[in-house]
């Protein structure tokens, strides 16, 4: 990969990677770190990108996902990353703009559900692309996405028009 190709890839995909990392971590500083690390990874190992196996964007989001998960594991050493124990806890949506409350609800999902929601709903990846990014089969991704959406439905129920919110 030449410098110019790298610069073009950076300009084209940095926002998607940053947005994904920001949504996963809830922190601008972490998102910056992850974004930088993703592109440093690309610079060091451009050979990992094989156009036959998917788009560059999906590959970069996959790297960002691994970095975000690594951070999560570091910060939550004692919490199991267990598939089944992941009916999300009730969450206090607080108050403010609807968008912020939705963000808090997505943030309350376990990381395995959160990442599929973000990749599917916000980054528009296909189930096959998500499966590759999160290193799972399509069936697993489908069921995680289903559970995540059920959790969100429950958490966001107070936002249906006319429902009061708790401060």
């Amino acid at each position: 990969m030449t410098d110019a190709e790298f610069q073009a890839a950076f300009e084209q995909h940095k926002d998607a990677v940053y947005r994904f990392a920001w949504r996963m971590s809830g922190s601008a500083a972490a998102a910056e770190d992850i974004t930088q690390d993703v592109f440093v990874g690309l610079l060091r190992h451009p050979d990992r990108f094989d156009p036959g196996r998917g788009t560059l964007r999906a590959l970069l989001l996959g790297i960002a996902r691994n970095l975000a998960l690594k951070r999560w594991r570091k910060e939550h050493r004692l919490e199991p990353l267990d598939e089944e124990a992941m009916a999300a806890e009730p969450v206090d949506l607080g108050r403010g703009e609807v968008g912020d409350m939705v963000g808090r609800a997505v943030g309350a999902l376990g990381p395995l559900q959160r990442e599929v929601v973000i990749l599917a709903e916000y980054e528009g990846l296909t189930l096959a692309e998500i499966a590759r990014a999160v290193d799972a089969d399509v069936g697993t991704v489908k069921s995680r996405l289903h559970r995540a959406r059920e959790n969100l439905r429950r958490m966001l129920a107070p936002l249906r028009s006319g429902q009061p919110t708790t401060t």
């Binding site: 950076f10 601008a28 974004t35 607080g94 609807v98 929601v117 969100l152 129920a157 401060t167």
Partner: protein
């Protein structure tokens, strides 16, 4: 909720694009940047040893200090070899490598450093001591370490005929000096102290908080394993303190005219805001954030002008209580450290805050929007808002009722008031899908019982005994403040009166 509505809601959550300054790190970053760049990627001793070795190597090949292509924009201070601004979690700090040379017989006055210091002796022998502990002699090739805040009581060459040379590595706030005199100069009595927000708060352990009396009022914030106390008398000197908890940056605010202490999440749309007093509106502080220049009404948390106009800050869980009550609950709490020279003035201020909370001073202050005659203007009330419903619980009534079972915004709510410390807490009164009603189990309501299951709870919503043992009720935030401040922004508010 159907798929369409869920998708519509999900679309409301916008994420920011990458900041314009973001650049991929250079392909071959300099060794020092790689070592200290934001995240510590290698164990500190290894990084330190590498830095020292590099310094030795470069030192042996050139006489000038190492040039630093990317510093924090602050000039390097005397003796500094390199200073780098850190990013990521350490944003706001500089990594500094400094060279120390002491001629024999030259003593350094007692001093402190604004960060921990890790040093390596290059030549000679260093005599060093902290906090008046016995001197340590560190030979060439040895290391010394001082924790942040330690008083450096001896620092000189141990050998009367030979100088000593060392390098030291520190992480300090951006641009700050590396040493501070042992005793900060107190401004003389009567000099007005600056009314400025604190953006880099320092804390002391509970045992060192000798400037607090048991009944002093404070705002307490606890999250995860961290508990911090922000004394009202200290907040009243600053208006706002920016701080960071594991889950969010926060702003701890105080308006002395309204007797209002409120803790907000300081992140809005992915940005962390830092607040500073700007002006008074409706006898309540308006604070401006440094990032967007928007002005925020403290009592409501709403931006009243600027780019974020109309946005409301989210309340962060906190409790207004006394030092004795908070320390009992969190013996290992940290306490906001008063700025130099202020600790001795806090007692006076604290007395005024306590007196105003006990007995309402006469009349409303100048500038109040409206005076609602239902209560004295400066009676302290605990304000609670659920949806569009708001209720004021006067402290005078709560001291008698102690436990109030109420419905606010259609939800069952229990309010618990401990008269000995005027600590008011409120909770969603539902547990395991069942609405509960509570009564005090002792004089101070530090213990309450629900009538439905006869479980015993503490005043912080945790069931300690009975069928619901271990259940934690969901906290609902209420904000104690003067009545005029609450009622002027919520003219339709209900006032609680005991039956």
């Amino acid at each position: 909720m159907d798929d369409r509505e869920l998708n519509r809601l999900l679309r409301e959550w916008k994420a920011p694009d990458a900041p314009p300054g973001l650049r991929p790190r250079p392909a071959q970053p300099s060794w020092l940047r790689w070592l200290v760049g934001g995240t510590i990627r290698v164990p500190v001793p290894v990084a330190f040893a590498a830095v020292v070795l590099a310094a030795l190597w470069i030192g042996s090949t050139r006489a000038e200090p190492i040039a630093t292509p990317q510093t924090s924009g602050q000039p390097r201070r005397s003796g500094e070899i390199a200073r780098y601004a850190l990013t990521g979690r350490l944003e706001g700090f500089d990594a500094v490598l400094v060279e120390l040379n002491f001629q024999p017989g030259v003593k350094t006055p007692e001093h402190r450093h604004p960060g921990a210091i890790l040093g390596y002796v290059l030549d000679g022998q260093m005599r060093t001591a902290i906090n008046h502990e016995p001197d340590q002699i560190v030979p060439a090739g040895g290391t010394f370490f001082e924790p942040h805040g330690a008083l450096h009581t001896a620092f000189t060459s141990a050998n009367p005929d030979e100088p000593v040379r060392a390098v030291a590595f520190l992480v300090v706030p951006n641009g700050s000096r590396l040493t501070e005199p042992a005793r900060a100069q107190s401004p003389p009595q009567g000099t007005p102290m600056p009314y400025v927000a604190i953006h880099e708060p320092e804390f002391v352990a509970a045992s060192e908080a000798t400037f607090l009396e048991d009944d002093d009022i404070l705002l307490g914030v606890a999250s995860g394993k961290v508990a911090k106390a922000y004394p009202a008398a200290d907040l009243a000197q600053h208006g706002a303190v920016s701080d960071r908890f594991p889950d969010a940056p926060i702003s701890v605010t105080w308006c002395g005219v309204c007797n209002t202490g409120i803790v907000f999440r300081a992140d809005v749309k992915g940005r962390t805001l830092h607040f500073q007093y700007d002006r008074m509106v409706a006898a309540n502080e308006v604070q401006k954030d440094a990032e967007t220049g928007s002005s925020w009404q403290q009592a409501t948390g709403e931006a009243i002008d600027g780019p974020l106009k109309g946005t409301r800050l989210t309340l962060y869980p906190s409790v207004r209580t006394t030092w004795a009550e908070w320390r009992k609950r969190y013996p290992h709490t940290l306490v906001l450290k008063p700025m130099p020279g202020y600790a001795e003035r806090m007692a006076d201020r604290s007395r005024r805050i306590k007196a105003n909370t006990r007995v309402a001073p006469e009349g409303a202050p100048n500038g109040a929007l409206a005076v609602d005659p239902r209560l004295p203007a400066r009676e302290t009330v605990a304000g609670l808002e659920v949806g569009r419903d708001s209720v004021a619980y006067p402290f005078s009534a709560l001291r008698i009722a102690r436990v109030v079972n109420d419905r606010v915004g259609g939800q069952p709510i229990v309010i618990v008031h401990q008269p000995s410390s005027d600590t008011t807490t409120a909770f969603d009164a539902r547990a395991k899908g069942k609405a509960l009603t509570f009564q005090a189990a002792n004089d101070d309501a530090s213990s309450v019982i629900d009538r439905e299951t006869r479980s015993t709870w503490n005043a912080y919503g945790l069931a300690l005994d009975g069928p619901l043992k271990g259940t934690q009720l969901k906290q609902v935030m209420l904000v104690p403040q003067f009545w005029f401040a609450w009622s002027q922004f919520r003219p339709g508010t209900r006032v609680f009166t005991p039956r």
